[in-house]
Symmetry: C2
Subunit: 592 residues, 2 copies
């Protein structure tokens, strides 16, 4: 088994040099938060991740959750790990102090979450979903609901779930059929939900389900969906879990990966109806979900980074240890000396560092919204969050497919053997481009809500900012070549934007035809941009004689490699975008 | 469960229009072989594939082979399927008449093999490996060994295996340690071999192992490896399986996919030594293996096509049936109407048709060698076989990763559920870029033995031939745009060749650094070339009012889509090739 070690140096580099966390915290009045504190937090999280969660990853895969008589039985060891996780306060890191949270910036929580998902993504889904439930209740719940549920969710005493999907309503939430009927101070919920992650378990005393359902008078479509809290155990007069509610897990999915995470079919109201409490206004449930969506989607993007990092560490260790090839003196050498293995490792490393930079920069924009000095600044940062979120979700998770596949490939035949573990990361990663909105859904969100709806202004701002980085590269001697590569990619991005804005109205199939290529183009461009900014900082630090030269020189090489090998993909993506919808829409159904 | 149906129309189009099979057979004196016969063969194979083998695919995955007391116990149903397979004569299709074969062209055998691998790749590996053993013995075995083993291997009464890999000798066969000690008219073999596909089973009365081992006086490295036949049961005086030989399967691998195919750790000579018979000359074992390598590697490339076709059929069916989205009149529509789903389906379809064209054209070159009128023609065709083989193996199997992943993606959340089956194809496909030489090994073979060793002449011939197709496209009105796309890709190929030839000598790391990108570039170029030739034929047939216009128009759209969306990837690959080895070789081991 390969160990997992948190790549703290790169995280601290991104937080320090790209996010400029200390300056942000000082300006935002978060005087307690500084680099030293964050390093201590990351080190402590890294320890729990490496020592407790990572070893349970293989166990969770082999002995996934199972359905018992009354409850889902989680993987052996998970309950104890969760207890340690909760007792160390990791569930409350970014929550508001009013509910017992530690009020740390979102970007710090994101950096910490990278560790959990690397160590054990199946496990980490449970607190991740709980975080979503906390946000939904904190933003939209009544004071009474907040008081009843938030302290226990923030402390990790209870966990939360998101119940959206139904057998006929996946990407198309308009088709939701679950019913909610008013009944005194509450509602009675009935219906079936599928793909409910951590929908049940015995690790905590209660599970708090957030459920989308329709009221009797609801209009059709997405404008008739409401959001409800449905606890597994109803709260008694003291606010403690009491009688069992009419909701249960009726089966578990047999999945390609993340076996440690129970994926439940949940049945609501098989008997008298499940007691539920309305969150927010009637028929506004989807709007409530949208509040959380940026966070949830960025979290899944982060999982793409995490699983890639885990796969990289394992592949790197194998490449260093596996002897395969004989020198002229008869001694054998490790496969890391082969150029093609180095190319694969660098593809992983460069992708991962670009992914981490993008994930943390996007997460920091969320903090900049929350701590903005004025509404204009808040709106500007919110615009950037809106724009980057589908890119973070879509591009990071698509890259995770390539990176984890390279992890298998570097292992050769051993990569196909399950005990090696490389294939496990590959299997686990495969869900990431699907859940929380497929790549296709992210891409439509990007070209539609985030670009066409504002005539491409948000994107123009981003392109201008990338242009400033190009200018700086062009005047930095050793980075001129990288500047050219970024400049080419930037022009490809500008042309893609122009094509979309010019043609989307006349051709209703255009946006959907080009959207995924469009998202991927901007993923590479943003990744390359942030690695280029990293290279500028690394070059400056090297020239100043500051920092670890080994690390900083590697950063320069990684950025250069990304410019040489990954940024040119924007050229191929632009060509596909330029082709438009013609051939895509040309075939009749039966001609496929 | 999605059914598998052989895509006979496309196969017949490629055989008829690109391979020009009838003309070839007439010229080669194979008067019995014509389009009608081949169609009948394909239909019969398609029936067995759809009705018998395909339904066992899920069974083999869920109830893979297991290790019993004395033998490997194959998946329930496989023995009966194998009996039908053998009794219908499918094992002897392309073998020489002298050994009971039907002497059909290799390209026909390849078209039929596509069916077996689509229907059940785990099952089809068994006859595929047997075919390799037949070739090794037919080319290099003594008359006595041929008489003793070939009739039963050709009839399928026995099966064959290839024993190359050892724990410390994977890609690096120079490290092989298995010993062969002379002992009268035979040798005693001892050692351990791993990753032995179908190394044991009870479907036949004997299993004939071909084993690489070292004689006591063998020089070090690859020039000291000899090839041996080691039967599971020694033959008695009547040539029938008698006493058990000292070879057995000691464990089975727990793999990511192809569970129906037992992957054995084989132990030779635990007791008195396994009796083996030398095939070919001492120390020339690797040369014997090379004889088979073109065929084996093309066969694995073919598996990439087959599993992609299977994944496509399943995704297409799902896309037609899955309702997700509501029209203005309230009716729901299937996801195939979404442009992005169509883009994914077309990426699969266009890739698959390019893969099929390349697999069959390359397979036909093998026939053209065998039936060449003179040594010059034979050498020319052999050069093309040599050049195309690593591209067929490398590019088709890499494309299979993308295509099977798209198959999962089109299924959305259902794609991650094992019962759906899409994930099974994705898992099965993952071995293809690894076994029979990883993509990295194929790429080194391509740039080294197949290009640098002849100063790029073989490649120049191919490029010139592609240039002729470009010229024809440029003068065919509706195909001018495709001509431009192919022309751009061709120039990228020419530039890649020039860079390799110009710089490989001065920079020893160059070939290895650029090789995989180089192989992929030529994969797309060859695929695009053959789809362009297909489009030229389709256009001509449409203009002549011949053939099914629905099919021919779809072929034009597929070729156009490939030109728009896949050929431009050559631009990104060329950029990576142009970057050379600099950043790849820049990092010290500890900087990764």
């Amino acid at each position: 088994m390969s160990d997992y070690v948190h790549p703290y140096r790169d995280t601290e580099f991104v937080l320090g040099e790209l996010v400029e966390l200390e300056r942000f915290c000082a300006e935002a009045g978060l005087q307690d938060v500084n680099g030293e504190l964050v390093s201590a937090i990351l080190a402590e999280a890294g320890r729990l991740g490496s020592e407790v969660l990572a070893p349970l990853n293989a166990v969770g895969d082999a002995q996934g959750a199972s359905l018992g008589e009354q409850h889902v039985e989680e993987t052996p060891g998970f309950a104890d790990a969760y207890r340690q996780f909760r007792e160390s306060g990791w569930t409350s890191l970014t929550a508001a102090e009013a509910w017992g949270g530690q009020n740390l910036p979102n970007v710090v929580g994101t950096a910490v979450n990278e560790i959990w998902h690397s160590a054990n993504m199946a496990f980490a889904l449970c607190p991740m979903l709980t975080q979503g439930a906390i946000e939904a209740i904190a933003h939209h719940g009544s004071a009474e609901l907040q008081a009843a549920y938030l302290p226990q969710l923030v402390s990790g005493e209870w966990t939360g779930t998101m119940n959206l999907t139904e057998p006929d309503a996946g990407s198309d939430l308009a088709a939701i059929k679950t019913k909610a009927v008013p009944n005194g101070d509450h509602y009675l919920i009935s219906g079936q939900k599928i793909f409910i992650t951590w929908g049940d378990h015995r690790m905590t005393d209660n599970v708090v389900h957030l459920v989308l359902a329709r009221l009797p008078d609801a209009p059709a479509g997405v404008k008739g969906i409401s959001l409800f809290i449905v606890p597994k155990y109803l709260l008694d007069a003291q606010g403690r879990p009491g009688a069992r509610n009419d909701v249960r897990c009726v089966s578990l999915e047999h999945k390609l990966g993340i076996h440690g995470s129970p994926t439940c079919v949940m049945s609501f109201g098989d008997k008298e109806g499940a007691v539920g409490y309305l969150v927010g206004e009637p028929h506004k449930g989807l709007a409530c979900m949208f509040t959380m969506m940026n966070h949830a989607r960025q979290s899944v993007g982060l999982q793409g980074l995490s699983i890639s990092e885990r796969a990289y560490q394992q592949a790197l260790q194998y490449a260093r240890e596996r002897l395969q090839g004989t020198r002229k003196d008869g001694s054998r050498f490790p496969i890391i000396e082969y150029p093609d293995v180095r190319r694969m490792l660098l593809t992983m490393k460069a992708s991962i560092e670009a992914m981490r930079a993008l994930a943390l920069v996007a997460a920091a924009e969320v903090d900049r919204v929350a701590h903005a000095q004025d509404p204009t600044a808040a709106a500007r940062h919110q615009g950037r969050v809106d724009l980057l979120t589908p890119i973070v979700k879509g591009w990071l998770t698509e890259m995770a497919q390539e990176v984890t596949s390279l992890g298998v490939q570097i292992h050769g035949g051993m990569g196909f053997i399950e005990e090696t573990g490389a294939a496990r990361h590959y299997r686990d990663a495969r869900i990431l481009t699907i859940y929380e909105g497929t790549t296709g859904i992210q891409a439509l969100d990007l070209v539609g809500r985030k670009i066409l709806s504002n005539k491409g202004e948000l994107l123009a701002d981003l392109l201008d900012e990338i242009g400033e980085t190009v200018t700086r590269l062009e005047s930095t001697g050793p980075l001129v070549a990288l500047g050219l590569a970024l400049s080419d990619a930037l022009e490809n991005g500008r042309e893609a934007r122009r094509l979309l804005l010019a043609n989307a109205e006349a051709d209703p199939a255009l946006a959907g035809s080009i959207s995924v290529n469009f998202l991927m183009l901007f993923g590479y461009l943003c990744g390359g941009w942030l690695l280029a900014r990293s290279a500028l900082r690394a070059q400056a630090l090297l020239e100043a004689g500051s920092g670890d030269p080994q690390f900083l020189e590697a950063k320069l090489v990684t950025a250069r490699f990304f410019g040489e090998q990954l940024l040119p993909r924007t050229q191929a993506l632009l060509a596909a975008i330029r082709a438009g919808s013609g051939s895509i829409m040309a075939l009749a159904d039966e001609q496929f």
